[in-house]
Homo-oligomer: 203 residues x 2
DNA sequence: CGCATAGTTGACTACGCTCAACCCTGGTGG
DNA sequence: CCACCAGGGTTGAGCGTAGTCAACTATGCG
């Protein structure tokens, strides 16, 4: 999933883009705020969240290196959610108008943007798919399968289990139990925040 | 949410596009099939579904008039899900290469496509948000709020409750009970497949 | 007329949530 | 250097709600 060819942007857009350094917890934009730009994470981690009318918070997206966010603002004129840096991050800010103007002139750019959006869609689809699995340990197992980071089946969690649980639609307790259960069943091993997924052909 | 300005497409793409009439239940493309085109529903209803490794089926999207589907194929070279017409439908087929080639030349087209994608993203986000509401009647209530079709708060279901239940992550039984419960509470009225949502300021 | 399917209702079960206590780690300050 | 504290994570007990299985009705179609 390489979305990294955004340096092939036309010079006028390149000029308009700015790099921003944000600290952990910093709010990049608020829900409802006037949308003026689209962003790409260069490194770090940014959470996109939406506050519902009842005050609950839903994490819609977690953007990491080379992923885009604030994309809703490109069409709508206000952001539909808030963007908050979870760790110190470097982000590139592309002003909305400059980007839209540059689009026609830059075919590569259009395709890159397309790829960014499809990546977001794909991620949402996967999360939705996960929610259809009722049994906690199976949902977790599938989540882990989607997040394997190397050929050995390793996954390292870079955010608190609390949040991962929420992403999965579970309470921390349930996630915890599911993990111990999977470990007891010999399907995974845990060491600190690293998990190794054992073979077990996707059945 | 008007995505209807796709008639402003450049002539060469217009020429490549074809209109297709499909019958209820017809498979437009299969999951895993080579992706050759992107589609827009002119009228009717098309379901996008994905079959997981375990054989379950997840509805990812339901495209209605003026909505697009098969968008994953624009980047990936195979479709990530199947497209099945739920009712007799008319769809416009834009060959992938023609569309991608036309993009640079047609700024309006790029923006329309952008809007189509963002609409899909928004819809997925809403469904995800719904899943975070545990209590069945509340989830249903919120679903209804999102689907009000006129100022009177009316909603008419054009597909079986069975499917709507699945979309919501419920069994038909649970949805049925939730609806009767909402009706008893005076929050909605039902007459056949039409539901009216009573005032009750979004609390 | 009969069959298949959608929808509803009931009784029981099961699984995830809630509340609570506890451990452990890292950070802070005396 | 240790005492304290806060927060994340784990474990336990009990509860509640959606799932499951089943029976029944209504509707549409052959």
């Amino acid at each position: 999933m390489d979305l990294s060819n955004l340096d092939t942007v036309p010079p006028n857009l390149q000029a308009a883009a700015t790099v921003q350094q944000v600290i952990a917890g910093q709010v990049i934009f608020q829900q409802g705020e006037a949308a003026t730009a689209f962003f790409i994470v260069q490194n770090g981690r940014v959470k996109l969240a939406r506050y519902t009318d009842e005050g609950r918070m839903v994490t819609l997206q977690v953007a990491r290196s080379r992923e885009g966010f604030g994309v809703g603002g490109l069409i709508s004129d206000t952001y539909s959610g808030a963007a908050i840096a979870e760790v110190p991050s470097q982000i590139i800010r592309y002003p909305k108008v400059a980007l839209l103007n540059a689009l026609p002139a830059a075919p590569d750019l259009a395709e890159t943007l397309l790829a960014l959006l499809l990546h977001i869609i794909r991620t949402l689809e996967i999360r939705l798919e996960l929610r259809d699995i009722r049994a906690s340990h199976q949902r977790v197992l599938r989540y882990l399968r989607y997040h394997v980071q190397d050929e050995e089946g390793r996954i390292v969690f870079d955010r608190p289990l609390k949040e991962i649980a929420a992403d999965l639609g579970f309470t921390p307790e349930t996630l915890s139990r599911a993990l111990t259960r999977l470990e007891e069943a010999g399907l995974i091993s845990r060491q600190e925040r690293q998990i190794t997924l054992h073979s077990s052909p996707a059945a």
